[in-house]
């Protein structure tokens, strides 16, 4: 924390020599050993450490994969299979990397919801939050680029849909699209640039992570009460060993889940069609993005109407990007002075609704928008016919036998006639997605700004140590044995 005196004392002669030239050990000591950390951080706060582990795992497995991977359209698919078949423990590398991407997103979503709940985006942590949003964007870009590399059917056709989104931007869209693909369509040149960028972006993420931690260490951690540290002695403990051990425990629990997927169901989070080599001429029956992008995909597809001169397609893209852009504006949208939702009973309900909306949007993204969720009535049969005189007509039936008899009658008369399903009206996925999209935006643009002004929060504790059970006397940190 800024203002906290450095407690590093160089021990050996070499450390003293180095410390007066490049105080890097001092920096590490002050950041990760003696850093004063609120004592009341719960397990939701361990996801930062978990994310660091995820990034390290992706980079390490990725670099080794890259030693064996071939980024050409003719060989990419087979080279990934060869990694799994012929490289010693190549299957482990590849599955850890592929499952790791999912686990990374799982962790980042928990981390972000944590921030939303405890108001971690509010002053003085706006920059910290913004950097987090940048990391999230870079992660989505990295995962999208990486998903292209195994060169399966979903790699190609998923990328086609996503690059197509840029095409919806007026004037410059087509140019951006061609620029991204390196040509008029996705081909070898696209795969190679995606590989190059997929290698680059994780290191940019690592760079932003350093800024993110720097921005964390200036104001210090937020905590579940949302009350700032007032007395370093009573409110905080040194990061090491208190949080290294707690984070360590949580990281290992996370790795157990991770390992469960890698060893028992490595392909369950991916799409089977990606084991079919990419073929531009065959479009898969069901193009869906990876699970972690589904809520945004649902928002994209929820917009089926034009607003003024803006057509639905472009509007969908605007809403989809808007759903991420709004996160960047959040520090200035939430007007409440109280950070933690613990003390905001009304906002808390809306927050839980927001979590539910995000999850349900994922469900909508995975489903066919036209499928009914709640059918309102039974499907009927409609016989359409055209008489010899050219008169059109329709008749609706419930039972097939009646419809078929009617059709035969018409055919016997010399008319043309055919039977089709007349779908009953229903509450469909598209409707649910529209409601949830409305809620998603309302949460940020209406509820949080308005509620902050109107809501009466509960009393916050005066200080962290007073909120902490059993430490009414504010026992100071004891050095660990």
């Amino acid at each position: 924390m800024s203002g906290h005196e450095s407690t590093y004392t160089p021990n050996s002669g070499f450390e003293k020599w180095l410390d007066s030239r490049l105080p890097i050990v001092r920096l590490a000591h002050d950041s990760f050993v003696d850093f004063p950390t609120p004592k009341n951080l719960n397990y939701w706060y361990t996801f930062g450490g978990i994310l660091a582990v995820c990034l390290a795992i992706q980079i390490i497995t990725g670099i080794v994969l890259a030693m064996h991977y071939t980024a050409t359209v003719d060989e990419a698919f087979a080279s990934v299979e060869r990694i799994m078949r012929d490289v010693p423990f190549g299957w482990l590398l590849r599955y850890v990397h592929a499952v790791g991407a999912s686990m990374f997103f799982l962790a980042v979503y928990v981390h972000m919801f944590r921030g939303l709940y405890y108001g971690s985006y509010k002053a003085p942590r706006e920059v910290l939050w913004l950097l987090g949003c940048v990391i999230f964007l870079l992660m989505m870009a990295t995962a999208f680029l990486g998903y292209m590399l195994p060169w399966g059917q979903m790699s190609l056709h998923g990328a086609n849909v996503i690059i197509g989104l840029f095409g919806a931007i007026p004037l410059v869209g087509e140019g951006i699209q061609t620029w991204l693909m390196g040509g008029p369509s996705i081909g070898n040149q696209t795969l190679q640039r995606f590989f190059s960028l997929h290698y680059l972006l994780p290191f940019m993420i690592a760079g932003v992570v350093i800024l993110h931690i720097w921005a964390l260490h200036v104001p210090g951690n937020n905590n579940p009460t949302g009350v700032e540290v007032k007395d370093v002695e009573k409110d905080t403990v040194p990061f090491h060993p208190y949080y290294t051990v707690k984070d360590g425990f949580a990281i290992v629990l996370f790795l157990i889940i991770f390992a469960g997927f890698v060893f028992y169901a490595p392909n369950v989070l991916g799409h089977a069609d990606n084991y079919i080599e990419a073929n531009p001429l065959v479009t898969p029956a069901h193009i869906v993005p990876e699970w972690y992008l589904l809520p945004f995909y649902a928002i994209l597809r929820a917009i089926t109407f034009d607003i003024g001169p803006i057509q639905a397609k472009l509007l969908g893209v605007i809403f989809m990007f808007g759903s991420i852009a709004v996160l960047f504006a959040l520090p200035w949208l939430d007007t409440s002075k109280v950070k933690s939702m613990r003390y905001r009973p009304v906002a808390k309900q809306f927050f839980l609704g927001f979590v539910a909306a995000a999850l349900l949007l994922g469900w909508c993204g995975a489903s066919n928008p036209d499928d009914p969720i709640i059918p309102l009535g039974e499907d009927k049969l409609q016989v359409s016919y055209t008489t010899e005189a050219g008169v059109d007509g329709v008749a609706v039936f419930e039972a097939y036998d009646d419809a078929a008899a009617f059709r035969s009658e018409k055919l016997a008369e010399g008319s043309t006639a055919s039977i089709a399903i007349k779908k009953a009206s229903a509450f469909r996925f598209i409707h649910l997605a529209q409601i949830l999209t409305a809620y998603y935006f309302a949460y940020f643009l209406i509820i949080l700004p308005y509620l902050g002004l109107r809501e009466t929060p509960k009393d916050e504790p005066d200080a962290i140590h007073k909120a902490v059970l059993g430490s009414a006397h504010g026992a100071a940190a004891v050095p660990a044995e």
């Binding site: 157990i256 060893f263 049969l381």
Partner: protein
Amino acid sequence: MKLYRLLSAGLGALALTLSAQAAGGAKHPHPPKEGWAFAGPLGEFDMASVQRGYQVYREVCSSCHSMKLLSYRNLGEPGGPFYDSEYPNANDNPLVKQFAMEDEILSETPDEYGDYQYRPARPSDAFRSPYPNEQAARAANGGAYPPDLSVITKARGHGADGDGANYVYSLLSGYPGFDELQFGEDADGEPFDYYQFDHGDEKGRLVQPIGQYYNPYMAGDVSAYWDGDPRHTPKGGFLAMGPQLMPGRVEYMDGTEATVEQMATDIAQFLQWAGDPKQIARKSLALPALIYLVILAILLWFSYQRIWRKIGH
């Protein structure tokens, strides 16, 4: 406006195919009655079945389907169906050498005159492909392309243990019986084949297009060929591969009776192995890794309790 077209083509195709799926849908594939030996955390392949499956592949499927990602040596590597601890190097395994030698392949390296010659395969070679390229394969199969079977069990299913094998098994043993096929003539006297359905609401006639075969497990949409209540179109689809496994289609070297069920089970188990030859090694590494992590977690938990014992939090 090309951009809009691209986008709408993508999204339009998506919506279309999605609704096609919703309309038709395929029957849910299932494992054979006795289940799969390889399934579950402690599963192991029934190697005799995988070996028989390889025989089915060689004698039946390999005349149309390639398996480009496999080499003969894979058969004799640890975890492979013909692994023999006497020959740790699969290239020396006599059975593997024998299998390879029986296949003639076009050499990838030119001879001393610069010509490419056919030669018997070696264990290090990839499985012989039946056709030199996709065009040839299509030409020989009425325009349809018999997909490469190397990873077919991973390409069909949802990643759950064994669902790809369920699919192969169900598809190959799930064609309606030949005696169920009926023959009709249309108004112009043209003959056509059809199936008569009469269970529950699924009542009507399904015409089988020429060169296509109905299979309830195939993904697709048969509504255009269905004469009956469109709300109850039969599940399944048409494919260009007819039923391949007739009773006694192969004569098993180990004397097992070659029923359709048996052959479908064996080929599915072989393809399950081929799709991910390291899957048993993977699962057997799971327990040590998990036990290690759980012990580490317990130790960390107690360290955590001890370090924090004097701190209220």
